[in-house]
């Protein structure tokens, strides 16, 4: 069967069977930023946006997103680079394997939450595991990024 949907602003079609998941479809379509880190929904590496909401692409059936809008890191390049530079300035993109899913969820978070405090930030991102950094550098990058965005709004 085929499924047609909008990927990063462009109409695409993909082959899928009943149990094909979005993660595999996206990687086959060249979106290599989307990673598979586990089989049990725990790691968050596969996080993409479905109609703007963070979801786990490992558990989204490809056939269920007919006509819907899917966004991966490849589709938010500018915003990703902007936040990514704050990560890089902390040295907090270590192996980089958790980075795409993490960045997607951070960008979703800054859209959804107004002025989150540290606890709220941590809780929003709790589904994104990282084994390299101990999470502190990621938090520093987020705080600096949010400061930077506030300044941008004011100027």
């Amino acid at each position: 069967m085929t499924v047609e949907f909008v990927l990063n602003g462009k109409r695409v079609t993909a082959e899928a069977t009943g149990d094909t998941v979005l993660l595999d479809v996206l990687r086959n379509l060249g979106c290599h930023s989307v990673k598979c880190g586990c089989e049990t929904t725990n790691c968050g590496l596969c996080t993409v946006w479905v109609n703007g909401k963070s979801r786990l692409s490992c558990s989204v059936l490809a056939l269920s997103i007919e006509g819907q809008e899917i966004t991966t890191l490849e589709g938010v390049k500018e915003k990703a680079e902007e936040f990514g530079s704050f990560l890089a300035a902390e040295g907090a993109e270590q192996c980089g394997f958790c980075s795409p899913g993490f960045i997607m969820n951070v960008l979703a978070m800054v859209r959804e939450l107004k002025n989150p405090n540290i606890e709220e930030i941590k809780e929003y991102l709790s589904g994104n595991l990282c084994r390299c950094t101990g999470y502190m550098g990621q938090l520093r990058a987020i705080c600096k990024y949010m400061e930077h965005m506030k300044e941008e709004v004011h100027s």
Binding site: G18, E39, G44, R55, L56, L61, L125, G127
Partner: protein, 266 residues
């Protein structure tokens, strides 16, 4: 490994129900738990187009569509006004936001999972489930039924003067719970009634009703006795996450704390 031969987005509940009567048909919730199993599904039925993803509030009830996500439950203002933070508390530790943007209330309830925070919490309130074929029945009855070929359409919480407190113990912050506990107090036919729902025992949630009249200034010791009696009304088991003895102790502590919090609220 889960295999699915056919995927159908149902255009009506009637169609969904008809398709679901086939032996190897399954209704899809968030696809988060089903994907972990080894079911060989002939027809997978998706209810996403049937408008079941809304939380409707009337003067008398909250009607939570089966396809509402846990995240919707977490953020719903109306539920917050009535029950404080406890509804949100029962879901906010579950894996992460991406997970909760997808996991459905219907899936959690239909699954009747032992580890379910959501089930524990809903069971303590005046909650009903609306079944397509089987009508509206109490959640406390539904929870004891075996899975069948009916469709869970919505979860209904009847509004009344109930104070709710939810708590759970976990080993790691986003892990399955070691024990879940929801305590509710309120007048039922004029008599002060307490409901104790304890889950992840590791067995699924069960609810006890006690017609207790407890003064606000009750001593710690006496409150502990009440909590012990409530906790004794449940069975507990041992697994990787904890022993039965420890779970019983946790139930006593969580019940007492929740009762105390409710008494202080008044």
């Amino acid at each position: 490994m889960l295999t699915i031969n056919n995927y159908v987005k149902a255009k009506s509940l009637e169609e969904a129900y008809e398709l679901n009567q086939a032996r190897n048909a399954r209704i899809m919730g968030g696809m988060l738990w089903m994907r972990l199993g080894n079911a060989r599904v002939q027809t997978l039925i998706d209810l996403s187009d049937l408008g079941l993803d809304q939380i409707e509030e009337t003067a008398h009830v909250f009607r939570i569509g089966a396809m509402c996500t846990l995240r919707q439950l977490e953020l719903h203002e109306g539920l917050k006004v009535l029950y404080g933070d406890s509804i949100a508390e029962s879901v906010r530790h579950i894996v992460g936001v991406q997970f909760r943007n997808q996991a459905t209330v219907g899936g959690s309830v239909y699954g009747r999972f032992g580890f379910s925070d959501v089930l524990t919490c809903l069971l303590s309130l005046d909650t009903f489930v609306e079944l397509y074929n089987g009508g509206t029945i109490r959640l406390s009855e539904f929870i004891n039924r075996k899975r069948d070929k009916d469709i869970l359409v919505s979860i209904i919480i009847r509004k009344s003067n109930r104070r709710l407190k939810y708590d759970a113990v976990r080993r790691a912050k986003t892990d399955f719970p070691v024990l879940t506990c929801a305590v509710v107090a309120g007048p039922v036919h004029g008599k002060e009634t307490w409901y104790f729902s304890v889950g992840a025992r590791p067995m699924k949630a069960k609810v006890l009703e006690k017609k207790w009249s407890i003064p606000r200034d009750i001593s710690d010791g006496l409150l502990m006795d009440y909590a012990k009696e409530a906790a004794a009304g449940f069975d507990y088991g041992t697994n990787m996450r904890g022993s039965a003895e420890y779970r019983r102790h946790l139930a006593e502590v969580l019940i007492r704390r929740s009762m105390h919090a409710i008494l202080m609220e008044e």
